[in-house]
Symmetry: C2
Subunit: 150 residues, 2 copies
DNA sequence: TATTGTTATACTCTATAACTATA
DNA sequence: TATAGTTATAGAGTATAACAATA
């Protein structure tokens, strides 16, 4: 409408929409998990651990796409909360294997509940078929950019 | 599949997908506009100006959802590049009105081209109807969280 | 006195690089 | 010598608060 050039302007692109929505939705999610003393990156780490175990923290860093030193900081915090445990790999005592504790699983479940509630808020105005199409399309995009499958 | 609890795990939620996709896609976009010496926030400012003018930098800060001091920093950089001009409002000499220069319009157009190219890459595996459904759904979500319409 | 833009300051996040322990 | 984890350091990004000019 406001574009005189006859084709989609920047705000109509997927890139712009995903970027802005990601930021806004991420902030809202951050607010909701604040009471658990968690930030989105912590939840990302918990999620990865919930999907399977990793040989080392460096493995995990690769999966999360962050520097190994950041995994240390995240794991430190999660360990303080009692959400993860570090156990030395007896095969190679340089390695620390991270595992979710029961409390960690509870936290992960609580964050999942928050995310679902936010999902419901965001899509309350959409019909069931639209919701499903959106879900499928985003899953497909995520796979395309190499993000771990849900 | 990997979820034993019988309902969608965190990685399957919209919130998680939008957050991770937003980050990844944002990074890719950032790489592409780096050669113009721009970052996503600069493009957000240019985009806002491209959609209409704002009474003051504080207006702009509200629209972008950032602190006024950040608008100063962004505008400083854009002014150095010759993309925007600051002109004092003669009605109220405290106000600086930002306007896009011709070069600013060119930069905005170049960034739009980059975004469209990225869009095409991301959705190359989707059919036309899927692409349209995705576009519509994201636009609808954006409106729902109060983001400026495209 | 209130408001706009700016500057100064500080804090958060994250990466790079140096260091320690183990291999 | 090479690798995993950690610690130390530094840089980017952004917000808060003080300041100057104008109303």
């Amino acid at each position: 409408m406001s574009d005189v050039k006859g084709s989609a302007g920047l705000p109509d692109t997927l890139v712009f929409r995903l970027g802005t929505l990601g930021a806004v939705v991420g902030d809202r999610f951050a607010e909701r998990i604040e009471r658990h003393d968690l930030k989105p990156k912590h939840v990302g780490l918990l999620t990865a651990l919930g999907q399977g175990s990793f040989a080392s923290q460096q493995d995990l860093a690769g999966r999360l796409g962050v520097a190994p030193s950041l995994v240390v900081a995240l794991a430190d915090h999660l360990e303080t909360l009692g959400a993860v445990r570090r156990v030395r790999d007896p095969q190679d005592r340089r390695r620390q294997v991270l595992t979710l504790t029961d409390h960690g699983q509870e936290l992960l479940a609580a964050c999942t509940t928050e995310a679902r509630a936010l999902d419901a808020e965001l899509t309350a105005h959409l019909g069931q078929s639209e919701r499903e199409a959106l879900h499928a399309a985003l899953g497909s995009l995520a796979a395309r950019v190499g993000l771990p499958a849900g």
